[in-house]
Amino acid sequence: MTRWGMAIDLDRCTGCEACVVACAAENNIQTVGEEQAREGRAMHWLRIERYYEGEFPDVRTRFMPVLCQQCGAAPCEPVCPVYATYHNPEGLNAMVYGRCIGTRFCANNCPYTVRVFNWFDAEFPAPLDSQLNPDVSVRPGGVMEKCTFCVQRIQAGKDEAAQEDREVADGDVKTACQQSCPTKAIAFGDLDDPDSEVSRWAESPRAFSLLGDLDTRPGVVYLSGTEWREPAE
């Protein structure tokens, strides 16, 4: 069985945000405009969190890309009253837009705050809509959305493999963020396959889960040579 997973090497991430735009381009994420963004309604599925360490001049800035962690035990799933978000057999936290009625319960229950909501219908003034990815639905207003691990690419990868009568190989499916990363800080693949790149990354002694204490069993693994929360002195 496949368990899609991602590993992000924080030591390689520069915070350049190429992935953020790649994600928006791939997934038809609407830009909400200045007014809405000011309200806190920007819709990035992937964000680069920035934290400081120390005081000037010994201050350091650290970046952490945060996206849907595709938890193995996801807090968002059980609270949805209509099964619009559920656990997919391949370990994805699926989000079915058509089913979503917009209670926003899932977003509240996400410890990573990675779910975003379509407060209004998306606007893509022509011909900007020419760019829209035909493999991804344009979500209507009132619907929750989040990172899908580029599920359309996963499906396309499986379709391609099936057409060629073979199994999906490691590296067949690349997420948009992974693809564009200049420093190659992202690995994606099957965590159940011990030989996949992502599994090998996940075995690293530097690997950890974000908010691991919550036991949400994320499908996203972070790698960092430095601890994030330093012991109190």
Partner: protein, 167 residues
């Protein structure tokens, strides 16, 4: 009023409503800009995939280009009034906008993949009906009826994961 009578009336009313708006009936046959006759073309020896090139290999079956239509019709009945419309569009390099017959509305957010179904051996007529014997293509069943999709997927052990279609 007897209980049985009430129940019967209720069932009748429900059936009436279901008939009016239900998934399987009363699908309108849309009006097309050109009176294209499927039967005639099939009888002339054309295969579905000759024009709908993506039906087996592609995600979408697709429509033939105006250029392709005109290519054949330069020899075949070029003077037919309906064919003339195609020839004119070809001359003007204009596309032809047909009305979709089998529609999965955008709001369903379904991404149907023809080639996956062709690979699984699903016949065209399962969804489209026997178009070969139709003059004007008409819907034979509501292809946007999710229950029907799911039933078929389960029977054939295809994925019944929502993400297989919705994404």
């Amino acid at each position: 009023m007897r209980l049985g009578t009430t129940l019967r009336l209720f069932v009748a009313a429900v059936a009436l409503l279901a008939g009016a708006c239900g998934p399987t009936q009363n699908l309108p046959t849309p009006e097309q800009p050109i009176a294209y006759d499927h039967q005639v073309h099939i009888e002339a020896g054309l295969e579905c995939v000759r024009c709908h090139r993506g039906a087996e290999e592609g995600v979408h079956a697709g429509m033939p280009s105006v250029q392709a239509c005109a290519g054949c019709h330069r020899r075949e009945i070029p003077d037919h009034p309906e064919v003339q419309k195609v020839m004119l569009a070809n001359e003007n390099r204009e596309p032809i906008l047909w009305a979709k017959v089998n529609v999965i509305p955008d709001s369903a957010m379904v991404h149907f993949n023809h080639r996956a179904h062709a690979r699984a051996g699903v016949e065209c007529l399962t969804c489209h009906g026997d178009v070969a014997s139709m003059t004007v293509a008409e819907p034979v069943r509501n292809v946007a009826d999710m229950g029907w999709c799911v039933e078929c997927h389960r029977e054939n052990e295809a994925s019944d994961d929502c993400l297989a279609c919705h994404r």
